[in-house]
Amino acid sequence: MQKGARKTAASVEKGVRQAFPIVLGYAPIGTAYGLLAQQAGLGLWATLGMSIFVFAGASQFMAVSMIQSGVETAVIIGSTFMVNFRHVLMSASVAPCLGSWKTWQRLLLGGMLTDETFVLHSLNMGRNDLNPISAVTLNVTAYVTWATAGAVGYNLGAMIADPKAWGLDFALPAMFVGLLLSACGNKAGIIAAVAGGAVSVGLHLLNAGSWGAFLGALAGATAGVFFMKESKD
């Protein structure tokens, strides 16, 4: 094998390895989505199509229940936009490190960005170790898992009548807990997390919905930057 090919293979392997915890998280959540979509009468292709073209967990759950209750198309699309608007911040956050990347690599990184893959990219960025092959492999692995799990859930149908009895509804929060531990690498990160969480909780108590998390993230990162500046003076 040539040296370049061997290096590529190693990068691919690293991407798959890093995606492993995400695969474990997406498998049960994606299955639960497929189950709900089937119960909402979505049809296999629409269920799969939504996972393939939308690839956004929370929005898909929301859309399925809205479709089931006959909510207007424009409202469903508008709500999806609000729920997913936070990805603007993630996309902007990885952008500075992609200077040497090809356009298709950047499109694949951004187009398949999720909360979970973003955190891993962000950690790699902090270690100066964000390479295009590994990052895109990580994304694709998570993506394929998500779509496959949706199809599996659809076909399982009545077999898992109640995903909650298996604790599967906690898969996503549990993954967030684990990712948050690794994302709080330094004092500024901890400040950002504490402030972001507090503002978001406050806004949720005021019924701010999906904007709570978005504004919380802005406030948290800002608090972290101010803290770092002051501690250096």
Binding site: G43, A92, L123, V177
Partner: protein, 106 residues
Amino acid sequence: MSGTWVIIAGMALVTSLPRVIPILLLTGRKMPKIVTRWLALIAPAILSALLLPELLVDRSGISPSLSFYNLYLFAALLTSIVGWKTRSLFCAVMTGIAAVALVRFF
């Protein structure tokens, strides 16, 4: 059925634009240090902003309220202890799921 595909197409558009546009616009731009530092802190800030309301806000009532005694919070504490000790995202996630399943079982 075609109505569902219109919804999917619309959702696909509004989920991909926020993901792709900042990367296309900002890559390769020189940004002030404070901005790149701010952007690096988005990860912990947004994770926590998404997670904490799940653990602390009770939506079962008419208006949302703070809740410190609930299954999710207990499971999250257990998950973070295991995550901290083992340094393994896999062990942490499995612990959390198992804890929730066990509590519901008994």
